[in-house]
């Protein structure tokens, strides 16, 4: 491996990391020199992301074959932990996406976290730590991407969790923000328990945590299945898959750019990426893939249906993320990692675009509720058109990026279902395929609804004078429109497709991302149906919400099938109660025993002392009785022995 490549790969996370660490040293509080602190923070954040992006682009050019380098980090009693890089096409592509989105978010944040027009409070008085945390977040994700060692991957993985926690809790005006942040971290952390155990199983089996060693090791089926299932728990947490998806919608309490970062390129992508990275292991564990498939199918539909009823624009997008990640994991489940990764990339582009655009809307109208928007098309044309592109890609409008990648997923599922292709069982293919198809229609429905409710019709808050955002906000959105629209076409470029080849795939066949076949029509038809129904509903009464047609299902969908409540009832409350019980038990039981023995000693002492609260004869009696008893005992022992 050539040294420059190595250096570039190291720079990739390091640049952001350094920027982040330096940023943390800046004065966080409002103080007399905060203007300069903010400037420094901005410079550091943007520079970190930019350098990372440049490095990623350079690597994109340089890396055409997988490269790997590692050095021992620490050897724990025969278990080798390495500090290593493992670069292949997938890694470089994902890294590029991450860095690009990160840069866009950094730039966007400069403008977004200024004083808002409808807010007297100085929102960004803690900008330096915010920017630094963004940088750290990026660095962590990039670490996950380039890491050649499971422990190192875990490091990035967990740091991401912490950063998400910090960033979601950033906004001090929102009372629900800290709770959402804690939830985000905790739910993913619970998943990470499985992830850690899975890694431990793999590492212990191979005697090393290096991914190459792990992939090369021949595990027993039981171990492998267990390890893969455990890894899936972590994946479910990070990638917001059922049943650990509940944190993601709540995480919308964070500032919108943070949401963009989390949803587009970092947290949620990490799970999919990790599975793809270790795909050869999953291929050998069909049971795990089946579980993944079920999970994916449920998630797809769950997310899609939940998105239909939301009023909060960010929550619609959040649920759509849940659903789209379901497509990716579905692709993985049917043995098409390339399709999953392709969808990941296109999703990164259009979801970042959508969030930043939504941010622009929120910025303009000062609310996230669609019921208070409407008719913004004229006031915000740029934002409107960008959103149209984004939503089109999301829904899978032909020729936009999402169309191609979603088609890839559906085609793979169809192949698995009909032809039994891929490593998983046919029923998994059927499940994913059917769920995917339904999902297409529903996605089209809620995308249309979002567009109509937000931009068309009449304005519902007439006092506002919304306008397109300033340049700092506009340009990132505009630039993201390009990949959101066009990235799908890259699938036709062999060099691109080839880069999405996962490690286990050494067949040498060309990676086929797009299947230009008649059955492309089927999803397109479903799309039209979904969009048409939504449009029809809106036409009947442009002021009303099309979601009203959901009828009694609406509240269920709003609450996302009440899974939050289930989680609260089944996990949160029992744990809290258990904690109180254990605390009481510890204080009264364990400590009570200790204190009690002390008290008992004192009591017994008191009792014995009371025995001595007597007159002299008792002392003499003690002597004589003692002698008598001892004599008696000795005599008896003497007689018996």
């Amino acid at each position: 491996m050539s040294t420059p490549t190595l250096w570039l790969a190291a720079v990739l996370p390091a640049a952001a990391l350094v920027a982040g660490l330096l940023g943390l040293l800046l004065p966080p509080a409002p103080s007399h020199d905060r203007a300069s602190a903010r400037r420094t923070a901005v410079a550091l954040g943007v520079a970190g992301a930019a350098v990372s992006l440049l490095a990623a682009l350079a690597l994109l050019v340089r890396v055409d074959a997988p490269v790997e380098a590692s050095t021992t980090w620490i050897d724990l009693g025969g278990l080798r932990v390495t500090l290593g890089l493992r670069l292949d096409g997938v890694a470089v592509l994902v890294a590029t996406a991450v860095a690009a989105v990160a840069l866009a978010v950094q730039v966007y944040s400069i403008g977004y976290l200024r004083r808002g027009p409808h807010d007297d409070v100085d929102v960004d008085h803690r900008y330096p730590p915010y920017a630094a945390q963004l940088s750290l977040f990026t660095a962590a994700m990039l670490t996950v991407v380039v890491s050649g060692d499971l422990i190192m991957l875990l490091a990035g993985w967990e740091v991401m969790g912490v950063c998400s926690y910090l960033l979601i809790a950033h906004d001090r005006r929102l009372p629900e923000a800290p709770g959402a942040a804690v939830k985000a971290f905790l739910v993913t952390r619970v998943g990470d328990v499985g992830f850690l155990l899975g890694i431990a199983l793999l590492g212990v089996g191979a005697g090393s945590f290096r991914i190459a060693d792990v992939l090369a090791h021949d595990y027993g089926t039981g171990t492998l299945t267990a390890a893969c299932l455990l890894l899936l728990a972590g994946v479910a947490g990070k990638s917001a898959q059922f049943p650990l998806h509940t944190w993601l919608p709540d995480a919308m309490a964070g500032p919108t750019p943070v949401s963009a970062l989390i949803h587009a390129a970092t947290m949620v992508a990490a799970g999919v990426y990790a599975v793809a990275r270790l795909f050869p292991l999953f291929e050998r564990a069909p049971a795990a893939l089946a579980v993944l498939g079920v999970m994916a199918a449920i998630t797809m539909l769950l997310g899609a249906f939940a998105a239909t009823a939301q009023d909060d624009i960010k929550r619609v997008l959040a649920w759509s993320t849940v659903s789209q990640i379901g497509y990716m994991t579905g692709a993985l489940a049917v043995g098409a990692p390339a399709a999953a990764l392709f969808h990941l990339l296109t999703h990164a582009a259009f979801k970042a675009l959508l969030f930043l655009a939504a941010g622009a809307v929120i910025h303009a109208v000062g609310t996230t509720l669609m019921s208070r928007m409407g008719g913004l098309r004229t006031a915000m044309p740029v934002t409107f058109w960008c959103t149209v592109v984004g939503l089109g890609a999301l829904a899978g409008v032909p020729s936009l990026s999402g169309f191609w990648s979603k088609d890839g997923v559906l085609a793979a599922a169809e192949a698995a279902a009909l032809d039994g292709a891929g490593p998983s069982a046919a029923w998994v293919g059927w499940l994913v395929w059917l769920a995917g198809l339904v999902g297409v229609a529903v996605t089209a429905w809620y995308a249309t609804r979002l567009l109509l409710r937000t931009f068309l019709g009449t304005t519902r808050t007439p006092l506002l004078r919304p306008h397109d955002p300033p340049a700092l906000l506009r340009w990132p959105v505009l630039l993201l429109t390009v990949p959101a629209a066009l990235l799908g076409l890259a699938a036709f470029a062999p060099w691109f497709a080839d880069r999405l080849r996962v490690p286990g795939d050494d067949t040498g066949e060309a990676v086929e991302l797009v299947h230009l076949a008649p059955n492309l029509v089927l999803p397109f038809l479903l799309l039209l149906v979904g969009a048409g129904v939504a449009w029809a509903g809106w036409r009947r009464d442009p002021a009303a919400d099309p979601a009203r047609f959901l009828g009694p299902l609406r509240p269920v969908f709003v609450r996302a099938f009440r899974l939050d409540d289930v989680q609260h009832t089944l996990v949160v409350r029992p744990v809290g109660a258990l904690a109180r019980v254990v605390r009481t038990g510890d204080e009264l039981g364990v400590d009570g025993l200790v204190e009690g023995s002390g008290r008992t000693a004192v009591e017994v002492g008191g009792g014995l002392a009371a025995l001595h609260r007597a007159a002299l004869p008792r002392a003499a009696a003690g002597v004589l009785a003692g002698a008598l008893l001892i004599g008696l005992a000795v005599a008896l022992i003497g007689v018996t022995s």
């Binding site: 001595h612 609260r613 007597a614 007159a615 002299l616 004869p617 008792r618 003499a620 004589l624």
Partner: protein, 117 residues
């Protein structure tokens, strides 16, 4: 001669002495009971001289002599002590001699100050 006769006499005398020590309230009577016990010991010692093949003849009787002297000395001092007590309290009832300090006069509220802390 049946040595068991004086031995049992001694045992019974000792028992009577023990009973007296424990029963009597008057310090002088207690001392008398002690004398009974000591005499029981002496009887054992003197009788033992007849029963054992001692390395030194008459050791028991010698010991008994020493015990008599010892008892005399103790009674002398003991009576002086009892009389001293009588001078101070005008009573020689041993039941009035406490073993423990008088019951605490401090209130429970004060206790943590001095005792527990």
């Amino acid at each position: 001669m049946r040595p068991v006769i004086p031995y049992v006499t001694a045992a019974l005398l000792f028992g009577l002495g023990v009973y007296g020590v424990l029963r009597r309230r008057n310090a002088v009577l207690v001392l008398m009971a002690v004398e009974l016990m000591l005499n029981a010991v002496n009887l054992v010692l003197v009788t033992a001289d007849t029963t054992v093949k001692a390395a030194l003849p008459h050791s028991g009787q010698v010991f008994a002599l020493f015990v008599i002297v010892l008892a005399a000395a103790e009674i002398g001092v003991g009576l002086a002590i009892v009389l001293q007590l009588y001078r101070l309290r005008a009573s020689v009832t041993v039941d009035d001699v406490p073993l423990a300090e008088p019951a605490p006069a401090v209130t429970p509220a004060e206790r943590p100050e001095g005792a527990v802390r």
